[in-house]
Symmetry: C2
Protein backbone atom coordinates (compact mmCIF):
# COMPACT_ATOMS: atom_id res chain seq x y z
CA UNK A 1 0.00 0.00 0.00
CA UNK A 2 1.44 3.34 -1.00
CA UNK A 3 2.20 5.88 1.71
CA UNK A 4 -0.49 8.55 1.84
CA UNK A 5 1.13 12.01 1.88
CA UNK A 6 -2.09 13.29 3.47
CA UNK A 7 -1.28 11.26 6.58
CA UNK A 8 1.54 13.67 7.46
CA UNK A 9 0.70 16.59 9.74
CA UNK A 10 0.85 19.93 7.96
CA UNK A 11 0.49 23.16 9.90
CA UNK A 12 -2.42 25.58 9.57
CA UNK A 13 -0.78 26.97 6.41
CA UNK A 14 -0.56 23.47 4.91
CA UNK A 15 3.21 23.32 5.41
CA UNK A 16 5.63 20.83 6.97
CA UNK A 17 9.23 21.76 7.87
CA UNK A 18 11.88 19.85 5.93
CA UNK A 19 15.40 19.58 7.32
CA UNK A 20 17.92 19.08 4.53
CA UNK A 21 21.07 17.14 5.39
CA UNK A 22 24.11 16.25 3.32
CA UNK A 23 23.78 12.49 2.92
CA UNK A 24 27.53 11.85 2.85
CA UNK A 25 28.95 14.20 5.50
CA UNK A 26 25.91 14.57 7.76
CA UNK A 27 26.14 18.37 7.64
CA UNK A 28 22.74 19.97 8.19
CA UNK A 29 22.39 22.31 5.22
CA UNK A 30 19.13 24.18 5.67
CA UNK A 31 15.53 24.00 6.70
CA UNK A 32 12.65 25.03 4.49
CA UNK A 33 8.96 24.27 4.17
CA UNK A 34 7.11 21.89 1.89
CA UNK A 35 3.43 21.52 1.24
CA UNK A 36 1.93 18.25 0.08
CA UNK A 37 2.42 19.16 -3.57
CA UNK A 38 6.07 20.20 -3.22
CA UNK A 39 6.77 16.99 -1.32
CA UNK A 40 5.14 15.03 -4.14
CA UNK A 41 7.29 16.93 -6.69
CA UNK A 42 10.38 16.19 -4.58
CA UNK A 43 9.62 12.47 -4.55
CA UNK A 44 8.75 12.42 -8.26
CA UNK A 45 11.71 14.43 -9.57
CA UNK A 46 14.40 13.37 -7.09
CA UNK A 47 15.32 17.01 -6.47
CA UNK A 48 14.09 19.25 -3.64
CA UNK A 49 11.03 21.42 -4.14
CA UNK A 50 9.82 23.70 -1.36
CA UNK A 51 7.03 26.19 -0.85
CA UNK A 52 8.30 29.73 -0.53
CA UNK A 53 6.35 31.40 2.26
CA UNK A 54 7.48 34.89 1.20
CA UNK A 55 6.91 34.50 -2.54
CA UNK A 56 3.95 32.13 -2.15
CA UNK A 57 5.13 29.89 -4.93
CA UNK A 58 6.92 26.59 -5.51
CA UNK A 59 10.66 26.88 -5.12
CA UNK A 60 12.86 24.40 -6.95
CA UNK A 61 16.08 24.64 -4.93
CA UNK A 62 18.97 25.50 -7.25
CA UNK A 63 16.80 26.82 -10.08
CA UNK A 64 18.59 30.20 -10.02
CA UNK A 65 21.95 29.24 -8.56
CA UNK A 66 22.35 25.81 -10.14
CA UNK A 67 22.97 24.41 -6.66
CA UNK A 68 20.36 21.67 -6.84
CA UNK A 69 19.90 18.98 -4.22
CA UNK A 70 19.62 15.37 -5.40
CA UNK A 71 17.43 13.44 -3.01
CA UNK A 72 18.89 10.26 -1.54
CA UNK A 73 16.47 9.47 1.31
CA UNK A 74 13.36 11.02 2.85
CA UNK A 75 12.33 10.39 6.46
CA UNK A 76 9.43 11.59 8.57
CA UNK A 77 9.50 11.74 12.34
CA UNK A 78 7.51 10.05 15.07
CA UNK A 79 5.08 12.98 15.28
CA UNK A 80 4.65 12.95 11.47
CA UNK A 81 5.12 16.73 11.47
CA UNK A 82 8.74 17.12 10.29
CA UNK A 83 10.70 15.76 7.33
CA UNK A 84 14.39 14.93 7.05
CA UNK A 85 15.66 14.92 3.48
CA UNK A 86 19.13 13.51 2.85
CA UNK A 87 20.65 14.92 -0.31
CA UNK A 88 23.69 15.24 -2.48
CA UNK A 89 24.27 19.00 -2.62
CA UNK A 90 25.63 20.55 -5.81
CA UNK A 91 27.75 23.61 -4.95
CA UNK A 92 26.52 25.16 -1.71
CA UNK A 93 23.12 25.32 -0.03
CA UNK A 94 23.12 28.82 1.44
CA UNK A 95 22.15 31.89 -0.57
CA UNK A 96 24.94 33.72 1.29
CA UNK A 97 27.43 31.43 -0.46
CA UNK A 98 28.20 29.08 2.43
CA UNK A 99 27.83 25.30 2.21
CA UNK A 100 25.37 25.27 5.11
CA UNK A 101 22.85 27.92 6.12
CA UNK A 102 23.85 27.23 9.74
CA UNK A 103 27.14 29.12 9.76
CA UNK A 104 26.51 31.46 12.69
CA UNK A 105 27.63 29.90 15.96
CA UNK A 106 26.57 31.36 19.31
CA UNK A 107 29.52 31.43 21.67
CA UNK A 108 29.52 30.96 25.44
CA UNK A 109 30.64 34.57 25.92
CA UNK A 110 27.59 35.79 24.00
CA UNK A 111 29.44 36.46 20.77
CA UNK A 112 28.88 34.99 17.31
CA UNK A 113 31.46 33.22 15.13
CA UNK A 114 31.00 32.62 11.41
CA UNK A 115 31.96 29.01 10.65
CA UNK A 116 32.96 27.81 7.21
CA UNK A 117 34.18 29.42 4.02
CA UNK A 118 32.26 30.95 1.18
CA UNK A 119 31.82 28.71 -1.84
CA UNK A 120 30.53 31.49 -4.08
CA UNK A 121 29.86 35.21 -4.19
CA UNK A 122 26.09 35.75 -3.94
CA UNK A 123 26.29 38.94 -6.02
CA UNK A 124 27.68 36.98 -8.95
CA UNK A 125 25.13 34.17 -8.67
CA UNK A 126 21.94 36.05 -7.91
CA UNK A 127 22.87 39.51 -9.26
CA UNK A 128 23.77 42.48 -7.12
CA UNK A 129 20.94 44.01 -5.14
CA UNK A 130 21.02 47.79 -5.22
Amino acid sequence: MAFDLNSLKYNEAGLIPAIVQDAASGTVLMMAYMNRESLAKTLETGETWFWSRSRKTFWHKGETSGNVQKVKEVFYDCDRDTLLVKVEQDGAACHEGYYSCFHYRLEQDGGVTVIGERYFDPDQVYGKKS
Copy 2:
Protein backbone atom coordinates in the same frame (compact mmCIF):
# COMPACT_ATOMS: atom_id res chain seq x y z
CA MET B 1 28.75 42.83 22.55
CA ALA B 2 26.48 40.00 23.65
CA PHE B 3 24.20 38.42 21.08
CA ASP B 4 20.63 39.64 21.48
CA LEU B 5 18.23 36.68 21.51
CA ASN B 6 15.52 39.11 20.44
CA SER B 7 17.28 39.51 17.10
CA LEU B 8 16.23 36.00 16.06
CA LYS B 9 12.98 35.63 14.13
CA TYR B 10 10.29 33.89 16.15
CA ASN B 11 6.99 32.93 14.52
CA GLU B 12 3.61 34.45 15.39
CA ALA B 13 3.47 32.13 18.43
CA GLY B 14 6.89 33.35 19.62
CA LEU B 15 8.59 30.09 18.64
CA ILE B 16 11.65 29.15 16.61
CA PRO B 17 12.27 25.60 15.34
CA ALA B 18 15.36 23.91 16.78
CA ILE B 19 16.94 20.99 14.95
CA VAL B 20 18.83 18.74 17.37
CA GLN B 21 21.80 16.85 15.98
CA ASP B 22 24.17 14.36 17.58
CA ALA B 23 27.45 16.30 17.73
CA ALA B 24 29.62 13.22 17.29
CA SER B 25 27.82 11.12 14.67
CA GLY B 26 25.91 13.85 12.83
CA THR B 27 22.62 11.96 13.22
CA VAL B 28 19.65 14.33 13.21
CA LEU B 29 17.78 13.37 16.37
CA MET B 30 14.64 15.50 16.48
CA MET B 31 13.13 18.88 15.88
CA ALA B 32 11.24 20.82 18.52
CA TYR B 33 10.36 24.44 19.22
CA MET B 34 11.99 26.96 21.53
CA ASN B 35 10.81 30.36 22.60
CA ARG B 36 13.24 33.07 23.67
CA GLU B 37 13.08 31.94 27.30
CA SER B 38 13.69 28.26 26.59
CA LEU B 39 16.63 29.19 24.35
CA ALA B 40 18.03 31.28 27.20
CA LYS B 41 17.57 28.33 29.60
CA THR B 42 19.30 26.05 27.08
CA LEU B 43 22.29 28.38 26.85
CA GLU B 44 22.44 28.90 30.62
CA THR B 45 22.07 25.27 31.71
CA GLY B 46 23.87 23.51 28.84
CA GLU B 47 20.92 21.14 28.40
CA THR B 48 18.04 21.46 25.94
CA TRP B 49 14.83 23.20 26.97
CA PHE B 50 11.94 23.49 24.54
CA TRP B 51 8.44 24.92 24.57
CA SER B 52 5.78 22.24 24.39
CA ARG B 53 3.09 23.47 22.00
CA SER B 54 0.60 20.84 23.17
CA ARG B 55 1.18 21.23 26.92
CA LYS B 56 1.98 24.97 26.72
CA THR B 57 4.84 24.67 29.15
CA PHE B 58 8.62 24.48 29.25
CA TRP B 59 9.92 21.04 28.41
CA HIS B 60 13.31 20.03 29.75
CA LYS B 61 14.23 17.20 27.40
CA GLY B 62 15.01 14.06 29.39
CA GLU B 63 13.24 15.20 32.56
CA THR B 64 10.99 12.13 32.55
CA SER B 65 13.12 9.64 30.62
CA GLY B 66 16.55 10.68 31.86
CA ASN B 67 17.63 11.00 28.23
CA VAL B 68 18.97 14.55 28.51
CA GLN B 69 20.85 16.35 25.76
CA LYS B 70 24.10 18.09 26.69
CA VAL B 71 24.58 21.10 24.44
CA LYS B 72 27.87 21.30 22.56
CA GLU B 73 27.19 24.04 19.99
CA VAL B 74 24.28 26.25 18.96
CA PHE B 75 23.95 27.73 15.47
CA TYR B 76 21.36 29.96 13.82
CA ASP B 77 20.80 30.12 10.10
CA CYS B 78 21.11 32.88 7.50
CA ASP B 79 17.41 33.75 7.84
CA ARG B 80 17.73 33.85 11.66
CA ASP B 81 14.55 31.76 11.90
CA THR B 82 15.90 28.27 12.64
CA LEU B 83 18.33 26.88 15.22
CA LEU B 84 20.70 23.94 14.99
CA VAL B 85 21.70 22.52 18.37
CA LYS B 86 24.53 20.00 18.44
CA VAL B 87 24.33 17.77 21.49
CA GLU B 88 25.61 14.74 23.30
CA GLN B 89 22.52 12.54 23.64
CA ASP B 90 22.11 10.40 26.74
CA GLY B 91 20.19 7.23 25.88
CA ALA B 92 17.87 7.89 22.94
CA ALA B 93 16.05 10.98 21.70
CA CYS B 94 12.74 9.55 20.53
CA HIS B 95 9.83 8.91 22.86
CA GLU B 96 9.17 5.76 20.83
CA GLY B 97 12.50 4.41 22.08
CA TYR B 98 14.57 4.97 18.95
CA TYR B 99 17.82 6.96 18.92
CA SER B 100 16.43 9.41 16.36
CA CYS B 101 12.85 10.55 15.86
CA PHE B 102 13.44 10.26 12.10
CA HIS B 103 13.18 6.50 11.82
CA TYR B 104 10.45 6.24 9.17
CA ARG B 105 11.91 6.19 5.68
CA LEU B 106 9.74 6.75 2.62
CA GLU B 107 10.66 4.27 -0.09
CA GLN B 108 10.60 4.77 -3.85
CA ASP B 109 7.81 2.21 -4.16
CA GLY B 110 5.63 4.24 -1.80
CA GLY B 111 6.25 2.04 1.23
CA VAL B 112 7.74 2.91 4.60
CA THR B 113 10.71 1.23 6.29
CA VAL B 114 11.52 1.61 9.98
CA ILE B 115 15.25 2.30 10.34
CA GLY B 116 17.17 1.66 13.54
CA GLU B 117 16.66 -0.38 16.67
CA ARG B 118 14.80 0.43 19.83
CA TYR B 119 16.99 1.58 22.70
CA PHE B 120 14.24 1.34 25.29
CA ASP B 121 10.63 0.28 25.77
CA PRO B 122 8.50 3.44 26.04
CA ASP B 123 6.00 1.69 28.33
CA GLN B 124 8.72 1.09 30.90
CA VAL B 125 10.09 4.63 30.73
CA TYR B 126 6.94 6.71 30.52
CA GLY B 127 4.45 4.26 32.00
CA LYS B 128 1.91 2.28 30.05
CA LYS B 129 -0.94 4.27 28.55
CA SER B 130 -4.27 2.51 28.92
